[in-house]
């Protein structure tokens, strides 16, 4: 039984979920991740703890050995994480199909306000397959299996975006699919080249040296899924377009599979330090300007992955441990934040900062849970990010990456501002929008509560969590210096915010989103946002415009040659065909006789 790859249960489960309704379906979607998680823990988990890394299943294909189920501490950690995330996600989505409120409070519901709680069956089946694909990918011991699940991740998850059932979500989903399929093709190309060099398709450490282009192509492939700069737009585009429950699943799996793949294949690859650091701070500028709170969380996700990528790039045992631990924590606290925004969206039909505010009066529980998630992402002591992110930062210092460390510190302050304060403040406090929405359905509250409790458990009792990490290390997060530094950072960050509100510098509520955030940050870092943001924006616009123009003209040329009436596609008279024959014969004769 223990040789059964974990994804099988989910794939079989998805079929069953497709054919059940009501209570039976609810029981199924909860039982599958729960049973799967327990089976993994007592089966492969216990085995690996006792006997080290295992390959449970091997197949032969075209002379290569495939290992669809390889378990070691690294893959197991992600295996547990994905079972947990799937369970939380399904608890959160349990009300789908019950006809519970669908943004009706908001009144005038426009196209962007289609909430998308319909299509329960489709969403459950897609989410189940999606979670299974993520599990398949992290337990894949070879590149071919990885490729299969890599593409399945894209194909299954896109239905969670399409489930929103709006024109925009359809277009977005299609773009999302293309980006991920390209990533998959790159993965296969890189794997083929690597197989040609090494004669094996095993998915182990790849690195960037000694394998020509293969390493770089694989890095780009993983990078697209991880949201590397310039390849990050799918995250901020797709996540806000999905349904409230769909986004929770989306945020848990795809990028974390990429982080896993990077940790497995590219630990210690120097360029990742720079890429990761860039990812930690560039989204901050976009996040503070953004009005759609779920898109803010999308930027925040890139920022958090930046920490993980940088940790993987540093490559020491503690850094990689920090990266995967932070991935674990991130799935839970980012999930919690997405859940709280989803709850708001479900109950009000709104996710824009300008449309919300004052919801704490009628949604106190949701507000509290959201603040707990915000505290976790901001790395308050006793919350999860405090014990995970710090490992990466300490490793950066130990390896003498001081500039990187400074950037990360700056980025940590940025996290507090755009995720820690902005999200709860604009949705639950700020100006009173007048919306009096009720608390969301019970299952949503339960899911959020479990998430919040986990954030605190990991943060308060890190030692137990550390035993799950793949490498041996000696690290204690709760020393005086760390706690004091972090509290200082957080206090001064919060102080800036409070001061502005108290002294009345904090501006008129009407303009709250676009301009307030900007003024706030001008006080903290004068003209940083404006100049950096502006320059980046202009450069970005210019690059986009030139690329689009190039693509347009090329496509035009292609269409003229290959389009329906183009010379390559139209029906030719027999005379011209024979002319070609004569031409070719002459060419061959010249060629052969010369």
């Amino acid at each position: 039984m223990s040789s059964l790859p974990p994804f099988v249960l989910f794939f079989v489960g998805a079929v069953l979920v497709g054919f059940t309704r009501g209570a039976a379906r609810k029981a199924l979607v909860l039982a599958i991740p729960a049973v799967g998680g327990v089976m993994l823990w007592v089966g492969a988990g216990a085995d690996v703890a006792a006997n080290g890394a295992q390959q449970y299943l091997t197949l032969e294909l075209l002379g290569y050995t495939l290992t669809p189920f390889r378990a070691d501490k690294l893959s197991l950690l992600f295996g547990y994480l994905f079972h947990l995330a799937a369970f939380l996600g399904f608890v959160y989505a349990l009300h789908l199909g019950d006809g519970t409120p669908d943004g009706s409070v908001a009144g005038d519901v426009g196209e962007e306000d289609i909430v998308g709680n319909a299509r329960a069956g489709l969403q459950h089946v897609a989410a189940m397959l999606y979670a299974g694909s993520a599990l398949g990918a992290v337990f894949a011991g070879d590149f071919i299996t990885l490729f299969v699940f890599w593409e399945l991740l894209a194909i299954t998850s896109v239905f969670l975006i399409w489930a929103r059932d709006s024109e925009r979500s359809y277009a977005t989903g299609f773009r999302y699919l293309i980006i991920h399929v390209v990533s998959g093709v790159l993965l296969l190309s890189g794997a083929l080249m690597l197989a040609h060099e090494t004669g094996s398709v095993e998915f182990g450490h790849v690195g960037l040296e000694g394998n020509g282009w293969a390493g770089w192509i694989l890095l780009v492939s993983f990078g697209i899924k991880a949201g590397f700069p310039l390849a990050h737009n799918w995250i901020t585009e797709a996540y806000p377009e999905s349904t409230p429950t769909g986004t929770v699943f989306l945020s848990a799996f795809t990028t974390k599979v990429a982080v896993y793949a990077l940790a497995r294949g590219f630990a210690g690859a120097e360029p990742l330090i720079l890429i990761g650091t860039a990812m930690t701070f560039f989204p901050i500028f976009f996040a503070v300007l953004e009005n759609d709170l779920r898109r803010v969380l999308g930027y925040s996700m890139i920022n958090q992955i930046g920490f993980m990528v940088a940790g993987i790039g540093i490559g020491t045992a503690m850094a990689v441990n920090g990266a995967v631990a932070h991935a674990f924590a991130d799935v839970i606290f980012k999930g919690l934040l997405f859940m709280s925004m989803g709850a708001v969206m479900t109950m009000t039909g709104r996710t824009k900062g300008t449309d919300l505010g004052g919801l704490y009066k009628t949604m106190p529980v949701t507000a509290t849970l959201c603040i707990m998630g915000a505290a976790a992402i901001s790395a308050f002591p006793l919350f999860s990010a405090f014990v995970t992110k710090s490992m990466i930062m300490v490793a950066a210092i130990e390896e003498h990456h001081y500039v990187v460390w400074l950037f990360m510190l700056f980025a940590s302050a940025g996290v507090l501002e755009h995720a820690g304060i902005k999200i709860p403040f604009f949705s639950f406090f700020a100006h009173d929008s007048g919306i009096r929405a009720k608390e969301p359905p019970k299952n949503m509250l339960v899911a959020m509560s479990i998430g919040a409790v986990l954030c605190v458990l990991i943060g308060a009792f890190p030692a137990a969590f550390y035993t799950l990490l793949p490498f041996e290390m000696d690290y204690h997060p709760y020393d005086l210096r760390h706690v004091v530094t972090q509290l200082q950072l957080l206090t001064f960050g919060a102080l800036g915010f409070v001061t502005l509100v108290r002294t009345g510098v904090y501006p008129d509520e009407k303009r709250a989103v676009h301009i307030d955030a900007e003024i706030l940050y001008r006080k903290l870092g004068p003209w940083v946002v404006k100049t950096v943001g502006g320059t980046v924006g202009r450069a970005d616009a210019f690059v986009r415009a030139s690329v689009m123009e190039f693509v347009r003209s090329t496509l035009g040329l292609v269409a003229r040659a290959h389009g329906q009436m183009g010379p390559l596609a139209r029906s030719w008279p027999a005379g011209s065909m024979v002319l070609w024959v004569a031409l070719l014969l002459s060419a061959y004769l010249l060629f052969y006789l010369s």
Binding site: L61, L62, I144, F147, V148, E151, Y170, V181, V182, V185, L188, S189, L192, M193, H196, W213, V558, A559, A561, H562, G563, Q564, G566, L568, A569, S571, W572, A574, S576, M577, V578, W580, V581, L584, L585, Y588, L589, F591, Y592, L593
Partner: protein
Amino acid sequence: MSENLPALLIVVPLILAPVAALVGRRDLSWAVAAAACWWAFGAALALLRRVQAEGVIRYELGGWAPPIGIEYRVDLASAFVALIVATIGAVTVVYARTSIAQEITEDRAPLFYAAYILCLTGLMGIAITGDVFNVFVFLEISSLSAYALIALGHDRRALTAAYQYLIMGSVGATFIVIGIGLMYVMTGTLNMVDLAERLPAVADNRTIPVAFAFLTVGVTLKLALFPLHLWLPNAYTYAPSAVTAFMASTATKVSVYLLLRFFFTVFGFDFAWVGMELHRVLMPLSVVAILAMSLVAIYQTNVKRLLAFSSVAQIGYMMLGISFGSVLGVTAGILHLFNHALMKGALFMAMGCVMYRVGSVSTDRMAGLGKAMPWTMAAFVLAGLSLIGVPLTVGFVSKWYLVQAALEQGQWAVAGVVMVGSLMALVYIWKVVEVAYFGEPDPDHELREAPLGLLVPTWILVIASFWFGIDATTTAEVATAAAETLLRGLP
């Protein structure tokens, strides 16, 4: 009986063809055709088994010893190709019963089945004969019946398409017979083995390169290698559904086999690849075929025409593999020959189902078909996955070998072309998927799923395209062995 198996494989259908024409009733003539096809399938399977067990079979027709008599010479490559033709023939004949009943009138049906059997016979004959003039004869048998089959399409444009194919096919066959004639003049024999033995002695004479040039043009025209593919899109588009499915999976494949036979067995690797540097011609043309024809396919709105252009691109893949001149490359070519027959057959059959119910295969008439004809469209999507080259499908196996063969020779750019071609296949398959699954159906048209008579053969090919994708050992072994035999030349 088993002694005479090579002859019976050809003779039995050849006799049944006029019977099918004479019985005069649709059902009876179908039964005769089915008997001929299934006999051929069984015989071809037995033949392949025997070749695998005993090695090359040489059969002297009528007891006349070569070079005076005609000899059938069956090695792994020929038995494999004969089996491909017979398999597709046997599946398609089942499909044809329902499909032809709608497309062709009662009085013409017996003629259709007679032509169908003749075409099948001709194609199998090319595969197993060991005599180059006999090749020409079988080529004409299969081609003439193919023109008739295409002309039976109920779109009026089928007539011009068939007429153009007739002109081009005849030009091709003439070129081949000129090549054969020139070789005969120089060596005094038509037997392949004798030719292979005697050609090296006269290779310095200018006549032989000229014969080689005529054969190259003739064969690449028959197999529709870019830019000599111009006859193919219209012929496939307007032919009856069953004919398209059959021809697309067999006719060009047998021509590819003919190229292998002429250039590896008769001329030999040393002459064709080292001396004439054939790869310098084949490789660029294949690459252009893959890229340009895939692009053209993307812009098509008639799905049969789209698939026809895709076929030209896929032939590019086969020729690309062969142009490497290595065991791995030729293996990839032969494997793709088999694999493409399965997937393209399934795709054209699925389109035949659409044609049967909708009366058109234009994308603007296919909106919402995913709901109305779920089994048909599912078959299309699954076979489409194969065309793209998704793992677990036969398409992946072909592409894998092809890329490995390219990398073996350090041809990174060519390996890239294969990958880009897959992406383009994704685009044109997606085009259909998008319309069928995301388009709004026309509420005025009440559509039903295609009848089982069409669905069952379609799904047999779809399932086969997964079966041989998951367990590629058998096909890969046969293809590798066939490639090794071909490259070794004659003993």
